[in-house]
Protein backbone atom coordinates (compact mmCIF):
# COMPACT_ATOMS: atom_id res chain seq x y z
CA UNK A 1 0.00 0.00 0.00
CA UNK A 2 3.08 2.15 0.20
CA UNK A 3 1.93 4.40 -2.61
CA UNK A 4 5.19 5.48 -4.15
CA UNK A 5 5.15 9.16 -4.64
CA UNK A 6 1.47 9.57 -5.41
CA UNK A 7 1.66 13.16 -6.59
CA UNK A 8 3.78 13.01 -9.76
CA UNK A 9 2.47 9.89 -11.36
CA UNK A 10 3.96 8.87 -14.65
CA UNK A 11 1.70 6.53 -16.60
CA UNK A 12 3.46 3.52 -18.12
CA UNK A 13 0.31 2.13 -19.70
CA UNK A 14 -2.63 4.15 -20.97
CA UNK A 15 -5.81 2.37 -22.01
CA UNK A 16 -8.19 4.68 -23.85
CA UNK A 17 -11.75 3.93 -24.96
CA UNK A 18 -11.02 0.23 -25.26
CA UNK A 19 -13.91 -1.88 -26.59
CA UNK A 20 -13.98 -5.52 -27.50
CA UNK A 21 -16.92 -7.21 -29.12
CA UNK A 22 -17.35 -10.99 -29.50
CA UNK A 23 -20.24 -11.49 -31.89
CA UNK A 24 -23.14 -9.85 -30.12
CA UNK A 25 -21.43 -9.66 -26.75
CA UNK A 26 -19.71 -6.46 -25.71
CA UNK A 27 -17.03 -7.90 -23.46
CA UNK A 28 -15.39 -4.53 -22.85
CA UNK A 29 -17.19 -1.28 -23.38
CA UNK A 30 -15.32 1.99 -23.66
CA UNK A 31 -12.81 1.29 -20.93
CA UNK A 32 -10.13 3.81 -20.05
CA UNK A 33 -7.60 3.60 -17.27
CA UNK A 34 -3.93 4.17 -16.58
CA UNK A 35 -1.27 2.16 -14.82
CA UNK A 36 1.58 4.14 -13.30
CA UNK A 37 5.26 3.45 -13.45
CA UNK A 38 6.56 1.62 -10.43
CA UNK A 39 3.07 0.78 -9.19
CA UNK A 40 1.35 -2.48 -8.65
CA UNK A 41 -2.01 -1.97 -10.29
CA UNK A 42 -4.81 -4.45 -9.66
CA UNK A 43 -7.64 -5.11 -12.06
CA UNK A 44 -10.54 -6.59 -10.15
CA UNK A 45 -14.16 -7.33 -10.76
CA UNK A 46 -16.75 -10.08 -10.55
CA UNK A 47 -16.52 -13.14 -12.77
CA UNK A 48 -17.17 -12.36 -16.40
CA UNK A 49 -16.38 -8.68 -15.98
CA UNK A 50 -13.90 -8.83 -18.87
CA UNK A 51 -10.62 -8.68 -16.96
CA UNK A 52 -8.84 -11.41 -18.90
CA UNK A 53 -10.11 -9.90 -22.14
CA UNK A 54 -8.46 -6.61 -21.18
CA UNK A 55 -5.27 -8.55 -20.56
CA UNK A 56 -5.46 -10.30 -23.89
CA UNK A 57 -5.96 -6.96 -25.63
CA UNK A 58 -2.99 -5.41 -23.84
CA UNK A 59 -0.69 -8.35 -24.61
CA UNK A 60 -1.71 -8.59 -28.24
CA UNK A 61 -3.55 -11.92 -28.12
CA UNK A 62 -6.83 -10.20 -29.05
CA UNK A 63 -7.25 -7.32 -31.45
CA UNK A 64 -9.61 -4.86 -29.79
CA UNK A 65 -12.64 -3.66 -31.72
CA UNK A 66 -11.87 -0.08 -30.78
CA UNK A 67 -9.57 1.95 -28.59
CA UNK A 68 -5.96 2.68 -28.02
CA UNK A 69 -3.42 1.11 -25.68
CA UNK A 70 -0.21 3.06 -25.24
CA UNK A 71 2.84 1.68 -23.52
CA UNK A 72 5.51 4.23 -22.63
CA UNK A 73 8.91 2.82 -21.81
CA UNK A 74 11.27 4.34 -19.30
CA UNK A 75 13.42 5.73 -22.10
CA UNK A 76 10.38 7.53 -23.43
CA UNK A 77 9.67 5.31 -26.40
CA UNK A 78 5.96 4.77 -27.02
CA UNK A 79 4.23 1.73 -28.44
CA UNK A 80 0.65 1.34 -29.60
CA UNK A 81 0.03 -2.16 -28.35
CA UNK A 82 -3.25 -2.72 -30.18
CA UNK A 83 -1.37 -2.50 -33.46
CA UNK A 84 1.27 -5.06 -32.54
CA UNK A 85 1.09 -8.84 -32.73
CA UNK A 86 1.39 -10.85 -29.54
CA UNK A 87 5.08 -11.69 -29.72
CA UNK A 88 6.05 -8.13 -30.62
CA UNK A 89 4.29 -6.83 -27.54
CA UNK A 90 6.76 -8.79 -25.50
CA UNK A 91 9.81 -8.47 -27.71
CA UNK A 92 9.62 -4.77 -28.56
CA UNK A 93 7.29 -3.11 -26.08
CA UNK A 94 8.67 -5.15 -23.14
CA UNK A 95 5.34 -6.25 -21.75
CA UNK A 96 5.37 -9.75 -20.26
CA UNK A 97 2.46 -11.81 -19.06
CA UNK A 98 1.38 -14.98 -17.30
CA UNK A 99 -1.75 -17.02 -17.83
CA UNK A 100 -4.76 -17.85 -15.72
CA UNK A 101 -4.35 -21.55 -16.46
CA UNK A 102 -0.62 -21.97 -16.15
CA UNK A 103 1.19 -22.40 -19.43
CA UNK A 104 4.62 -23.83 -18.74
CA UNK A 105 6.75 -25.91 -21.08
CA UNK A 106 6.07 -28.93 -18.96
CA UNK A 107 8.46 -31.28 -20.73
CA UNK A 108 11.38 -28.86 -20.42
CA UNK A 109 13.26 -28.48 -17.17
CA UNK A 110 12.72 -25.46 -14.95
CA UNK A 111 16.04 -24.02 -16.07
CA UNK A 112 15.21 -24.56 -19.74
CA UNK A 113 11.92 -22.74 -19.26
CA UNK A 114 13.86 -19.70 -18.14
CA UNK A 115 16.33 -20.01 -21.00
CA UNK A 116 13.54 -20.11 -23.58
CA UNK A 117 12.33 -16.82 -22.14
CA UNK A 118 15.68 -15.25 -23.08
CA UNK A 119 15.24 -16.34 -26.68
CA UNK A 120 15.52 -13.00 -28.47
CA UNK A 121 18.59 -11.89 -26.59
CA UNK A 122 20.30 -15.22 -27.24
CA UNK A 123 19.25 -15.31 -30.88
CA UNK A 124 21.05 -12.04 -31.39
CA UNK A 125 24.11 -13.25 -29.50
CA UNK A 126 24.24 -16.43 -31.55
CA UNK A 127 24.14 -14.46 -34.79
CA UNK A 128 20.76 -15.98 -35.57
CA UNK A 129 22.12 -19.45 -34.80
CA UNK A 130 24.82 -19.42 -37.46
CA UNK A 131 27.69 -18.00 -35.40
CA UNK A 132 26.62 -20.08 -32.42
CA UNK A 133 26.60 -23.22 -34.51
CA UNK A 134 30.18 -22.51 -35.51
CA UNK A 135 31.11 -22.14 -31.85
CA UNK A 136 31.85 -18.41 -31.65
CA UNK A 137 32.91 -17.38 -28.15
CA UNK A 138 30.47 -14.45 -28.03
CA UNK A 139 27.60 -16.87 -27.92
CA UNK A 140 29.20 -18.98 -25.22
CA UNK A 141 29.53 -15.90 -23.08
CA UNK A 142 25.93 -14.91 -23.69
CA UNK A 143 24.78 -18.44 -22.90
CA UNK A 144 26.66 -18.39 -19.60
CA UNK A 145 25.13 -15.02 -18.79
CA UNK A 146 21.66 -16.30 -19.55
CA UNK A 147 22.19 -19.15 -17.10
CA UNK A 148 23.27 -16.61 -14.48
CA UNK A 149 20.14 -14.60 -15.18
CA UNK A 150 18.03 -17.75 -14.84
CA UNK A 151 19.78 -18.58 -11.58
CA UNK A 152 19.02 -15.11 -10.22
CA UNK A 153 15.31 -15.61 -10.83
CA UNK A 154 15.37 -19.17 -9.56
CA UNK A 155 16.79 -17.89 -6.29
CA UNK A 156 14.14 -15.20 -6.13
CA UNK A 157 11.30 -17.59 -6.85
CA UNK A 158 12.79 -20.11 -4.43
CA UNK A 159 13.06 -22.75 -7.14
CA UNK A 160 16.80 -23.20 -7.29
CA UNK A 161 16.60 -26.73 -5.85
CA UNK A 162 14.24 -27.84 -8.57
CA UNK A 163 16.19 -26.29 -11.45
CA UNK A 164 16.87 -29.58 -13.22
CA UNK A 165 13.41 -31.09 -12.80
CA UNK A 166 10.76 -31.01 -15.48
CA UNK A 167 8.45 -28.03 -15.04
CA UNK A 168 5.42 -30.28 -15.21
CA UNK A 169 6.66 -32.08 -12.11
CA UNK A 170 6.49 -29.02 -9.84
CA UNK A 171 3.66 -28.50 -7.35
CA UNK A 172 1.04 -25.94 -8.29
CA UNK A 173 2.36 -23.01 -6.29
CA UNK A 174 5.87 -23.50 -7.61
CA UNK A 175 4.51 -23.59 -11.14
CA UNK A 176 2.89 -20.20 -10.59
CA UNK A 177 6.16 -18.76 -9.30
CA UNK A 178 8.05 -20.31 -12.19
CA UNK A 179 5.69 -18.73 -14.69
CA UNK A 180 6.35 -15.32 -13.11
CA UNK A 181 10.09 -15.93 -13.06
CA UNK A 182 9.92 -16.95 -16.71
CA UNK A 183 8.06 -13.79 -17.64
CA UNK A 184 10.69 -11.73 -15.76
CA UNK A 185 13.47 -13.43 -17.72
CA UNK A 186 12.24 -11.66 -20.86
CA UNK A 187 13.35 -8.43 -19.16
CA UNK A 188 10.00 -6.63 -19.13
CA UNK A 189 9.20 -3.11 -18.00
CA UNK A 190 5.59 -4.00 -17.49
CA UNK A 191 4.41 -7.33 -16.11
CA UNK A 192 0.83 -8.56 -16.46
CA UNK A 193 -0.22 -11.33 -14.08
CA UNK A 194 -3.49 -13.15 -14.64
CA UNK A 195 -4.71 -14.38 -11.24
CA UNK A 196 -1.29 -15.24 -9.84
CA UNK A 197 -2.71 -16.29 -6.49
CA UNK A 198 -5.45 -18.56 -7.81
CA UNK A 199 -5.30 -21.95 -6.18
CA UNK A 200 -2.48 -21.06 -3.80
CA UNK A 201 -2.60 -21.90 -0.11
CA UNK A 202 -2.07 -19.04 2.39
CA UNK A 203 1.62 -19.78 2.78
CA UNK A 204 2.23 -19.83 -0.96
CA UNK A 205 0.14 -16.69 -1.25
CA UNK A 206 2.45 -14.91 1.17
CA UNK A 207 5.50 -16.07 -0.75
CA UNK A 208 3.91 -14.69 -3.89
CA UNK A 209 3.36 -11.28 -2.30
CA UNK A 210 7.00 -11.31 -1.28
CA UNK A 211 8.08 -12.15 -4.83
CA UNK A 212 5.95 -9.42 -6.40
CA UNK A 213 7.21 -6.79 -3.97
CA UNK A 214 10.80 -7.71 -4.59
CA UNK A 215 10.25 -7.64 -8.35
CA UNK A 216 9.04 -4.10 -8.06
CA UNK A 217 11.74 -3.05 -5.65
CA UNK A 218 14.73 -4.66 -7.37
CA UNK A 219 13.87 -4.26 -11.02
CA UNK A 220 11.50 -1.34 -11.02
CA UNK A 221 9.09 -3.34 -13.13
CA UNK A 222 5.53 -2.09 -13.00
CA UNK A 223 2.90 -4.73 -12.44
CA UNK A 224 -0.69 -5.12 -13.54
CA UNK A 225 -2.53 -8.00 -11.97
CA UNK A 226 -5.93 -9.58 -12.13
CA UNK A 227 -6.88 -11.04 -8.81
CA UNK A 228 -9.78 -12.52 -6.97
CA UNK A 229 -8.00 -12.91 -3.68
CA UNK A 230 -8.76 -9.61 -1.97
CA UNK A 231 -6.13 -10.14 0.69
CA UNK A 232 -3.51 -10.10 -2.04
CA UNK A 233 -5.05 -7.10 -3.78
CA UNK A 234 -5.42 -4.95 -0.69
CA UNK A 235 -2.10 -6.02 0.67
CA UNK A 236 0.18 -5.23 -2.23
CA UNK A 237 -1.50 -3.00 -4.76
CA UNK A 238 -1.05 0.74 -4.98
CA UNK A 239 -3.88 1.30 -7.37
CA UNK A 240 -7.05 -0.63 -8.08
CA UNK A 241 -9.31 -0.55 -11.14
CA UNK A 242 -12.70 -2.23 -10.81
CA UNK A 243 -14.57 -3.62 -13.80
CA UNK A 244 -18.14 -4.75 -14.08
CA UNK A 245 -19.77 -5.88 -17.32
CA UNK A 246 -16.83 -4.57 -19.28
CA UNK A 247 -17.03 -1.08 -17.83
CA UNK A 248 -14.97 0.68 -15.23
CA UNK A 249 -16.93 1.36 -12.08
CA UNK A 250 -14.18 2.51 -9.79
CA UNK A 251 -10.56 3.58 -9.92
CA UNK A 252 -8.26 4.71 -7.14
CA UNK A 253 -6.16 3.56 -4.24
CA UNK A 254 -7.26 0.44 -2.33
CA UNK A 255 -8.91 2.44 0.45
CA UNK A 256 -10.91 4.49 -1.96
CA UNK A 257 -12.09 1.46 -3.90
CA UNK A 258 -12.85 -0.53 -0.80
CA UNK A 259 -15.32 2.07 0.30
CA UNK A 260 -16.82 2.81 -3.08
CA UNK A 261 -20.51 1.92 -2.88
CA UNK A 262 -20.60 0.96 -6.54
CA UNK A 263 -17.90 -1.62 -5.94
CA UNK A 264 -19.68 -3.00 -2.93
CA UNK A 265 -22.90 -3.21 -4.87
CA UNK A 266 -21.15 -4.98 -7.71
CA UNK A 267 -19.64 -7.52 -5.40
CA UNK A 268 -22.66 -8.03 -3.21
CA UNK A 269 -24.98 -7.87 -6.18
CA UNK A 270 -27.59 -5.38 -4.96
CA UNK A 271 -30.02 -3.26 -6.94
CA UNK A 272 -29.18 0.34 -7.63
CA UNK A 273 -31.74 1.78 -5.26
CA UNK A 274 -30.37 -0.34 -2.46
CA UNK A 275 -26.95 1.18 -2.83
CA UNK A 276 -27.86 3.98 -0.48
CA UNK A 277 -28.68 1.52 2.23
CA UNK A 278 -25.47 -0.30 1.68
CA UNK A 279 -23.52 2.90 2.07
CA UNK A 280 -25.16 3.55 5.38
CA UNK A 281 -24.28 0.10 6.54
CA UNK A 282 -20.72 0.56 5.44
CA UNK A 283 -20.32 3.63 7.51
CA UNK A 284 -20.85 1.54 10.61
CA UNK A 285 -18.33 -1.07 9.62
CA UNK A 286 -14.74 -0.55 10.70
CA UNK A 287 -12.31 0.17 7.87
CA UNK A 288 -10.14 -2.73 6.76
CA UNK A 289 -13.06 -5.09 6.96
CA UNK A 290 -13.51 -7.90 4.53
CA UNK A 291 -14.23 -6.98 0.98
Amino acid sequence: MAGTNTMTKDPILKVEHLSMRFGGLMAINDLSFEAYRGDITALIGPNGAGKTTVFNCITGFYKPTMGMITMRQKAGKEFLLERMSDFEVNRDAKVARTFQNIRLFSGLTVLENLLVAQHNKLMLASGYTILGLLGFPAYKKAAAQSIEQAKYWLEKANLIDRADDPAGDLPYGAQRRLEIARAMCTGPEFLCLDEPAAGLNPRESLALNELLRSIRKDTGTSILLIEHDMSVVMEISDHVVVLEYGQKISDGNPDHVKNDPKVIAAYLGVEDDEVEEVIEEIEHVTPGGPL
Binding site: T52, Y62, F99
Partner: protein, 300 residues
Protein backbone atom coordinates in the same frame (compact mmCIF):
# COMPACT_ATOMS: atom_id res chain seq x y z
CA UNK B 1 -23.55 -26.89 -72.00
CA UNK B 2 -24.50 -30.54 -72.35
CA UNK B 3 -20.87 -31.44 -71.98
CA UNK B 4 -20.73 -29.42 -68.79
CA UNK B 5 -23.84 -31.07 -67.32
CA UNK B 6 -22.46 -34.44 -68.34
CA UNK B 7 -19.32 -33.70 -66.37
CA UNK B 8 -21.42 -32.55 -63.44
CA UNK B 9 -23.19 -35.91 -63.43
CA UNK B 10 -19.90 -37.79 -63.58
CA UNK B 11 -18.47 -35.64 -60.84
CA UNK B 12 -21.51 -36.18 -58.67
CA UNK B 13 -21.15 -39.94 -59.00
CA UNK B 14 -17.50 -39.90 -58.12
CA UNK B 15 -18.19 -37.43 -55.33
CA UNK B 16 -20.81 -39.73 -53.82
CA UNK B 17 -18.24 -42.48 -53.48
CA UNK B 18 -15.73 -40.10 -51.91
CA UNK B 19 -18.43 -38.77 -49.61
CA UNK B 20 -19.33 -42.25 -48.36
CA UNK B 21 -15.69 -42.95 -47.50
CA UNK B 22 -15.18 -39.49 -46.04
CA UNK B 23 -17.97 -40.05 -43.52
CA UNK B 24 -15.99 -42.89 -41.98
CA UNK B 25 -12.98 -40.60 -41.54
CA UNK B 26 -15.03 -37.81 -40.12
CA UNK B 27 -17.04 -39.96 -37.70
CA UNK B 28 -13.95 -41.61 -36.28
CA UNK B 29 -12.15 -38.29 -36.10
CA UNK B 30 -15.10 -36.69 -34.41
CA UNK B 31 -15.38 -39.33 -31.73
CA UNK B 32 -11.77 -40.09 -30.84
CA UNK B 33 -9.86 -37.34 -32.63
CA UNK B 34 -7.82 -39.78 -34.64
CA UNK B 35 -7.09 -39.92 -38.35
CA UNK B 36 -7.89 -43.51 -39.24
CA UNK B 37 -5.43 -43.91 -42.04
CA UNK B 38 -6.48 -47.50 -42.62
CA UNK B 39 -9.97 -46.41 -43.62
CA UNK B 40 -9.09 -46.32 -47.31
CA UNK B 41 -7.99 -49.92 -47.06
CA UNK B 42 -11.21 -50.83 -45.30
CA UNK B 43 -12.92 -49.42 -48.39
CA UNK B 44 -10.73 -51.62 -50.58
CA UNK B 45 -11.50 -54.61 -48.36
CA UNK B 46 -15.20 -53.90 -48.83
CA UNK B 47 -14.71 -53.86 -52.59
CA UNK B 48 -12.94 -57.20 -52.44
CA UNK B 49 -15.63 -58.70 -50.23
CA UNK B 50 -18.23 -57.58 -52.76
CA UNK B 51 -16.16 -59.04 -55.58
CA UNK B 52 -15.81 -62.42 -53.89
CA UNK B 53 -19.50 -62.52 -53.00
CA UNK B 54 -20.37 -61.70 -56.60
CA UNK B 55 -18.18 -64.50 -57.91
CA UNK B 56 -19.58 -66.83 -55.29
CA UNK B 57 -23.13 -66.04 -56.35
CA UNK B 58 -22.20 -66.61 -59.97
CA UNK B 59 -20.59 -69.96 -59.29
CA UNK B 60 -23.31 -71.17 -56.93
CA UNK B 61 -26.42 -70.10 -58.80
CA UNK B 62 -25.17 -69.36 -62.26
CA UNK B 63 -26.93 -66.04 -62.35
CA UNK B 64 -28.86 -63.92 -59.90
CA UNK B 65 -31.05 -60.88 -60.67
CA UNK B 66 -28.71 -57.95 -60.57
CA UNK B 67 -30.65 -56.03 -57.95
CA UNK B 68 -30.62 -58.99 -55.59
CA UNK B 69 -26.95 -59.63 -56.29
CA UNK B 70 -26.05 -56.02 -55.51
CA UNK B 71 -28.12 -56.13 -52.35
CA UNK B 72 -26.40 -59.28 -51.10
CA UNK B 73 -22.99 -57.89 -52.04
CA UNK B 74 -23.61 -54.71 -50.12
CA UNK B 75 -24.91 -56.49 -47.04
CA UNK B 76 -22.10 -59.03 -46.89
CA UNK B 77 -19.46 -56.38 -47.58
CA UNK B 78 -20.89 -54.20 -44.81
CA UNK B 79 -20.86 -57.07 -42.31
CA UNK B 80 -17.40 -58.09 -43.36
CA UNK B 81 -15.74 -54.70 -43.11
CA UNK B 82 -17.71 -53.93 -39.96
CA UNK B 83 -16.19 -57.01 -38.35
CA UNK B 84 -12.73 -56.08 -39.61
CA UNK B 85 -12.91 -52.54 -38.35
CA UNK B 86 -14.28 -53.73 -35.01
CA UNK B 87 -11.32 -56.07 -34.56
CA UNK B 88 -8.84 -53.45 -35.79
CA UNK B 89 -10.13 -50.84 -33.38
CA UNK B 90 -10.00 -53.30 -30.50
CA UNK B 91 -6.53 -54.59 -31.20
CA UNK B 92 -4.64 -51.68 -32.68
CA UNK B 93 -6.31 -48.47 -31.54
CA UNK B 94 -7.99 -49.11 -28.20
CA UNK B 95 -4.79 -49.93 -26.29
CA UNK B 96 -3.46 -46.54 -27.38
CA UNK B 97 -6.49 -44.48 -26.53
CA UNK B 98 -5.57 -41.60 -24.30
CA UNK B 99 -1.87 -41.95 -24.93
CA UNK B 100 0.28 -39.96 -27.26
CA UNK B 101 -1.65 -38.52 -30.22
CA UNK B 102 0.79 -39.75 -32.83
CA UNK B 103 0.81 -43.36 -31.63
CA UNK B 104 -2.62 -44.31 -33.03
CA UNK B 105 -1.78 -42.46 -36.25
CA UNK B 106 1.26 -44.67 -36.67
CA UNK B 107 -0.64 -47.86 -35.90
CA UNK B 108 -3.27 -46.75 -38.41
CA UNK B 109 -0.60 -46.25 -41.07
CA UNK B 110 0.85 -49.64 -40.13
CA UNK B 111 -2.61 -51.15 -40.40
CA UNK B 112 -3.07 -49.58 -43.81
CA UNK B 113 0.20 -51.11 -45.03
CA UNK B 114 -0.69 -54.47 -43.46
CA UNK B 115 -4.22 -54.60 -44.89
CA UNK B 116 -3.28 -53.83 -48.47
CA UNK B 117 -0.43 -56.31 -48.32
CA UNK B 118 -2.68 -58.90 -46.71
CA UNK B 119 -4.99 -58.67 -49.71
CA UNK B 120 -2.00 -58.77 -52.02
CA UNK B 121 -0.77 -61.95 -50.38
CA UNK B 122 -4.12 -63.71 -50.13
CA UNK B 123 -5.79 -62.50 -53.33
CA UNK B 124 -2.84 -61.87 -55.58
CA UNK B 125 -1.35 -58.64 -56.88
CA UNK B 126 -3.18 -58.46 -60.20
CA UNK B 127 -6.14 -56.34 -61.29
CA UNK B 128 -9.45 -58.10 -60.74
CA UNK B 129 -11.77 -57.23 -63.62
CA UNK B 130 -15.40 -58.32 -63.71
CA UNK B 131 -17.80 -58.10 -66.63
CA UNK B 132 -20.06 -55.09 -66.48
CA UNK B 133 -22.89 -55.77 -64.04
CA UNK B 134 -25.18 -52.94 -65.00
CA UNK B 135 -24.98 -51.53 -68.46
CA UNK B 136 -28.17 -49.59 -69.22
CA UNK B 137 -27.64 -46.00 -70.20
CA UNK B 138 -30.42 -43.45 -70.43
CA UNK B 139 -30.47 -40.38 -72.52
CA UNK B 140 -31.90 -37.39 -70.71
CA UNK B 141 -31.99 -34.19 -72.78
CA UNK B 142 -28.83 -35.18 -74.56
CA UNK B 143 -26.98 -36.16 -71.43
CA UNK B 144 -26.21 -39.81 -71.01
CA UNK B 145 -26.80 -41.05 -67.53
CA UNK B 146 -25.99 -44.66 -66.82
CA UNK B 147 -28.00 -46.80 -64.46
CA UNK B 148 -24.79 -47.30 -62.47
CA UNK B 149 -24.62 -43.60 -61.78
CA UNK B 150 -28.24 -43.49 -60.73
CA UNK B 151 -27.74 -46.45 -58.39
CA UNK B 152 -24.69 -44.84 -56.82
CA UNK B 153 -26.34 -41.48 -56.22
CA UNK B 154 -29.57 -43.03 -54.94
CA UNK B 155 -27.84 -45.51 -52.63
CA UNK B 156 -25.66 -42.71 -51.27
CA UNK B 157 -28.63 -40.46 -50.67
CA UNK B 158 -30.61 -43.19 -48.92
CA UNK B 159 -27.70 -44.21 -46.72
CA UNK B 160 -26.93 -40.63 -45.80
CA UNK B 161 -30.52 -40.09 -44.74
CA UNK B 162 -30.45 -43.21 -42.60
CA UNK B 163 -27.15 -42.26 -40.99
CA UNK B 164 -28.17 -38.69 -40.48
CA UNK B 165 -31.27 -39.97 -38.73
CA UNK B 166 -29.26 -42.36 -36.54
CA UNK B 167 -26.79 -39.70 -35.48
CA UNK B 168 -29.38 -37.04 -34.78
CA UNK B 169 -32.46 -38.87 -33.57
CA UNK B 170 -31.55 -42.10 -31.81
CA UNK B 171 -30.11 -42.89 -28.38
CA UNK B 172 -27.08 -44.33 -30.15
CA UNK B 173 -26.51 -41.09 -31.98
CA UNK B 174 -26.93 -39.17 -28.77
CA UNK B 175 -24.33 -41.38 -27.11
CA UNK B 176 -22.01 -40.76 -30.03
CA UNK B 177 -22.43 -37.04 -29.86
CA UNK B 178 -21.97 -37.04 -26.11
CA UNK B 179 -18.81 -39.12 -26.38
CA UNK B 180 -17.57 -36.72 -29.02
CA UNK B 181 -18.07 -33.74 -26.72
CA UNK B 182 -16.56 -35.15 -23.57
CA UNK B 183 -15.60 -38.78 -23.26
CA UNK B 184 -15.11 -38.75 -19.50
CA UNK B 185 -18.36 -37.00 -18.77
CA UNK B 186 -20.23 -39.33 -21.11
CA UNK B 187 -18.79 -42.31 -19.25
CA UNK B 188 -19.83 -40.78 -15.92
CA UNK B 189 -23.36 -40.39 -17.24
CA UNK B 190 -23.55 -44.10 -17.93
CA UNK B 191 -22.72 -44.19 -21.62
CA UNK B 192 -20.70 -47.24 -22.59
CA UNK B 193 -17.96 -45.30 -24.31
CA UNK B 194 -16.06 -48.34 -25.61
CA UNK B 195 -19.18 -49.72 -27.18
CA UNK B 196 -20.11 -46.39 -28.70
CA UNK B 197 -16.68 -46.03 -30.24
CA UNK B 198 -16.80 -49.60 -31.55
CA UNK B 199 -20.16 -48.95 -33.15
CA UNK B 200 -18.82 -45.78 -34.74
CA UNK B 201 -15.99 -47.75 -36.29
CA UNK B 202 -18.44 -50.38 -37.52
CA UNK B 203 -20.73 -47.73 -39.02
CA UNK B 204 -17.84 -46.01 -40.77
CA UNK B 205 -16.62 -49.32 -42.14
CA UNK B 206 -20.10 -50.26 -43.35
CA UNK B 207 -20.34 -47.03 -45.36
CA UNK B 208 -16.87 -47.62 -46.76
CA UNK B 209 -17.99 -51.11 -47.78
CA UNK B 210 -20.92 -49.64 -49.68
CA UNK B 211 -18.52 -47.24 -51.35
CA UNK B 212 -16.28 -50.20 -52.19
CA UNK B 213 -19.16 -52.11 -53.74
CA UNK B 214 -20.20 -49.07 -55.75
CA UNK B 215 -16.61 -48.53 -56.87
CA UNK B 216 -16.39 -52.14 -58.05
CA UNK B 217 -19.69 -51.85 -59.89
CA UNK B 218 -18.78 -48.50 -61.47
CA UNK B 219 -15.27 -49.28 -62.63
CA UNK B 220 -15.64 -53.05 -62.94
CA UNK B 221 -12.16 -53.65 -61.59
CA UNK B 222 -10.39 -53.61 -58.26
CA UNK B 223 -6.82 -54.17 -57.12
CA UNK B 224 -5.19 -54.34 -53.71
CA UNK B 225 -3.67 -50.86 -53.96
CA UNK B 226 -7.05 -49.26 -54.61
CA UNK B 227 -7.42 -48.24 -50.99
CA UNK B 228 -4.79 -45.55 -51.10
CA UNK B 229 -5.83 -42.96 -53.68
CA UNK B 230 -9.58 -42.94 -52.93
CA UNK B 231 -8.66 -43.06 -49.24
CA UNK B 232 -6.47 -39.98 -49.47
CA UNK B 233 -9.06 -38.20 -51.62
CA UNK B 234 -11.79 -39.01 -49.13
CA UNK B 235 -9.63 -37.83 -46.26
CA UNK B 236 -9.00 -34.67 -48.24
CA UNK B 237 -12.76 -34.39 -48.71
CA UNK B 238 -13.36 -34.77 -44.98
CA UNK B 239 -10.80 -32.08 -44.19
CA UNK B 240 -12.06 -29.80 -46.94
CA UNK B 241 -15.59 -30.03 -45.59
CA UNK B 242 -14.40 -29.58 -42.02
CA UNK B 243 -13.32 -32.76 -40.29
CA UNK B 244 -15.80 -33.90 -37.67
CA UNK B 245 -18.80 -32.61 -39.60
CA UNK B 246 -21.02 -35.18 -41.36
CA UNK B 247 -22.58 -32.77 -43.89
CA UNK B 248 -19.08 -31.37 -44.39
CA UNK B 249 -17.78 -34.80 -45.39
CA UNK B 250 -20.48 -35.22 -48.01
CA UNK B 251 -20.03 -31.68 -49.28
CA UNK B 252 -16.26 -32.16 -49.42
CA UNK B 253 -16.70 -35.46 -51.27
CA UNK B 254 -18.99 -33.91 -53.86
CA UNK B 255 -16.67 -30.94 -54.29
CA UNK B 256 -13.68 -33.15 -54.90
CA UNK B 257 -15.64 -35.32 -57.32
CA UNK B 258 -16.70 -32.23 -59.25
CA UNK B 259 -13.27 -30.63 -59.23
CA UNK B 260 -11.79 -33.82 -60.58
CA UNK B 261 -14.23 -34.40 -63.38
CA UNK B 262 -14.41 -30.75 -64.44
CA UNK B 263 -10.65 -30.33 -64.36
CA UNK B 264 -10.18 -33.50 -66.41
CA UNK B 265 -12.81 -32.33 -68.86
CA UNK B 266 -11.59 -28.79 -69.42
CA UNK B 267 -7.89 -28.87 -68.62
CA UNK B 268 -5.64 -31.86 -68.45
CA UNK B 269 -6.34 -35.18 -66.86
CA UNK B 270 -2.69 -35.49 -65.84
CA UNK B 271 -2.91 -32.73 -63.30
CA UNK B 272 -6.34 -33.50 -61.86
CA UNK B 273 -4.97 -34.67 -58.53
CA UNK B 274 -2.65 -31.68 -58.39
CA UNK B 275 -5.74 -29.51 -58.86
CA UNK B 276 -7.60 -31.30 -56.08
CA UNK B 277 -4.75 -31.00 -53.61
CA UNK B 278 -4.03 -27.39 -54.55
CA UNK B 279 -7.64 -26.41 -53.99
CA UNK B 280 -7.53 -28.17 -50.62
CA UNK B 281 -4.44 -26.19 -49.65
CA UNK B 282 -5.97 -22.91 -50.83
CA UNK B 283 -9.26 -23.50 -49.01
CA UNK B 284 -7.46 -24.39 -45.80
CA UNK B 285 -5.23 -21.35 -45.99
CA UNK B 286 -8.29 -19.10 -46.05
CA UNK B 287 -10.53 -21.25 -43.90
CA UNK B 288 -8.25 -23.21 -41.58
CA UNK B 289 -10.95 -25.53 -40.26
CA UNK B 290 -12.56 -26.47 -43.54
CA UNK B 291 -15.79 -25.26 -45.06
CA UNK B 292 -18.30 -26.46 -42.48
CA UNK B 293 -15.89 -27.12 -39.62
CA UNK B 294 -16.23 -25.29 -36.38
CA UNK B 295 -13.43 -22.74 -36.19
CA UNK B 296 -11.02 -23.64 -33.47
CA UNK B 297 -11.04 -20.82 -30.97
CA UNK B 298 -7.65 -20.17 -29.50
CA UNK B 299 -8.24 -20.07 -25.77
CA UNK B 300 -5.67 -17.94 -24.08
Amino acid sequence: MEYFVQQLVNGLTLGSIYGLIAIGYTMVYGIIGMVNFAHGDIFMLGGFAALIVYLLLLSLFGGVPIALALFIMIIVAMLMTGLWNWVIEKMAYRPLRGSFRLAPLITAIGMSIALSNFIQVTQGPRNKPIPSMVSSVYDVFGISISLKQIIIVVVTAVLLTIFWYIVNHTPLGRAQRATEQDRKMAALLGIDVDKTISITFIMGAALAAVAGTMYLMYYGVIVFTDGFTPGVKAFTAAVLGGIGSLPGAVLGGLMIGLIESLWSAYFTIDYKDVATFSILAIVLIFKPSGILGRPEVEKV
